[in-house]
Amino acid sequence: MTFLARRDPTVKLAAVLGISLLLIFIVDPITPALFLVIAIAAALAGGARPTTIARALVPLTMLGMGFVWSNAVFAATQGPATWTIGPVHASESGLRFGLAIAIRGIAIGILSLTFVWTTDPTDLVVSLIRHTRLPFRIGYPLLAGYRFLPFFTDEYAQVRLARRVRGALPRGLLGRGREAVSELVTLLSDATRRATRIAIAMDARGFAAATERTYYREARLAWGDAVFVIGAVIMTTGLLVLSAWVGALRTVLG
């Protein structure tokens, strides 16, 4: 296991949330770009394969390009245009702002995914219960629900197939909408049945009656977690200082 994978999930989650929150106040493109580089490095250090990262970058970048485009064009309708390409006017300040939002989004996206890639869901729930006082009566059902997700896509395909074979013929927009609702109702009644059974099975193993619950998984904070937090703080401060030193740093405060 890599250093990142061994870190306590709550600590990791706090770091990701903290850095993401900070990035929201930054409006230049260079600073989030620095963070993006670090995020990609962290993902690689956390054991993510380059192809996995590349595949995650594709949709994030497409979304980002949408931001860049709409901001550049939108800004040009408000102020003087910098460029005119055919019927399209765009402004440099808009482009800069769009780029900042886009790169910020990609950086936060890769940071969050790095968290997901290096965190075991069971560890996350146990750690949240023990370190953030998340009630176990919420945490464990969440975990049980997480198991459902793959069944859901499977079942949805089955329901659609079954209805199509019987001759469900959605015609027009209204018909399609009605068909989607019917499919959803069938799926939900299945899910309700499943959830009820799981709840019964959990209670049959003493979940409802549990008072002083103990944990099989350990969620002990290690020295490595302190090292990780200190490292994250130093790195964040360092990047901000670097960005300010080259004169790139712009925040919402000006």
Partner: protein, 550 residues
Amino acid sequence: MFARAQSLTVRHIGRKRPALHDLDFEWEEGERLLLLGPSGAGKSTLALCLDGLIPHALDAHWESGALTVGGRDTRSAKLAELTRDVGVLFQDPETQLVMLETDDEIAFGLENLGLPRDEMVERVAEARASTGLGPATPRRLDALSGGTKQRVALASLLAMRPRALVLDEPTANLDPIGAREVVTAFAALAMRRERSFLVVEHRLDPLLRFIDRVAVLGEEGRLAFAGDPEAIFMGRAGELDRLGIWQPELAELARLLGAERMPRDVGEAAALLIDRWPRGASVQREDRVFGPITVAARGLVHRYRGDDRDAVTGASLDLHEGEISAIVGANGAGKSTLGLLLAGVLRPSRGTVDVSGDVAYVFQYPERGFLATTVRDELRYAATIGRRIARDPDALLERFGLARLAGANPHSLSHGEKRRLSVASALVTSPSVLILDEPTFGQDLRNTRELVTILREERDRGTTVVLITHDLSLVAELADRAVAMADGAIGFAGPVDELFQRSDLARFGLALPPAADAFARARERDPGVPPLTGLDAARTALAAREAVRA
């Protein structure tokens, strides 16, 4: 006495009839009790009461009577004490596993008990050992087969060291290999006699050796009768039959041979056959004359999007008018995919399917395909999309025992009724090919018999019938031909008795049903015993011999 119910009446919320009605019931400490009853007789309700979930975690009307478990009155005892005493293994592995990994799952109940971590580690190891979950068992639950998941669920109960275990249809959702896995694990526990067991099950043959007593619930949630297995299965077969309760094949075989003792396993049944089978009594393979080819499949290949291997690979097959074929094989062998390709629901990646006429497909979970809000409209749905209604819907409702439910919502029906409705609405257009996916899955004896009768009628009308099934007893009774699949390919296609005589059945995830297994084993020692496929064939052989002698 471990548990005793006295005039117990429990009614579920929103139901008119009580699930348990004036029930008197006893379960001795250390006893291995088999609980039987038709569907809806209250078996699962009793299981939930024994665990204290009714009334502590699930609301129900406790109308009268009392239930004591482990010396405690379940209504005044604490749920924590009751769930510690009694563990319940439910039917579906998918809806009783809570965690993502094996060890976490086994520890879940121990965490609820508040045990220190060291003790949990010790008990997890102990529970894994007693259910045969070795180091090779994958860590992640989603990588396990159904049978292994069910063993993990069993281990998670054992770790809590309960005084008693209730197993509520533990193999009903599994294929034959998975069922055998669970029965083996249960047998090992039952042999050690360390706790009391109550088993609800309908594959009875493998359990006969491990059962001390049988209790039978009647139709109104009352105790019908109880006694030792031999007295019940040899002496009260007629009553069990009337109640629609599955019986062990081996006991029925023994009765056919006029024996008084019940064989407790296949070995004993084989010895009985060697001793008593009238030599010369056998069946000739019926050379049925089929009509012309209705479905011709050539070189079918299908790969689902995102998969890295073919679900069906190079399958060729001819189906005829008036022929019942059974597609058999392990889970994931490609049976359902082949069925969907034959039905034209899936398009093959390569290969062709030629069908003369139209195909109706009945899914394993019929409620997923219900499109109307009443039973009658469901049956007539074909007309609303422009298909021709070829049979009188009212006559079909009558034939399928659904006439009094014509105005009901299809989703409100029982399992058996839903299944019958889905078959009826497939037949309303009088299709030339009828494909059914796991038609007997979760069905009781009465529904299964009814289905067999209906499918025979269809065959005689000239319909091409295809069953996709794990149930080899059904195949032996009903099918003219078996198609066995392994890893997406058809590995065998031919008469059922020929399939049963193959030595590589396990390659297809199959195992001989108990009666056929007894014949096969008897024949190994005495070639004078014929290789019959099951009780149906045995009955035919004995009747034919009687006729000759008369």
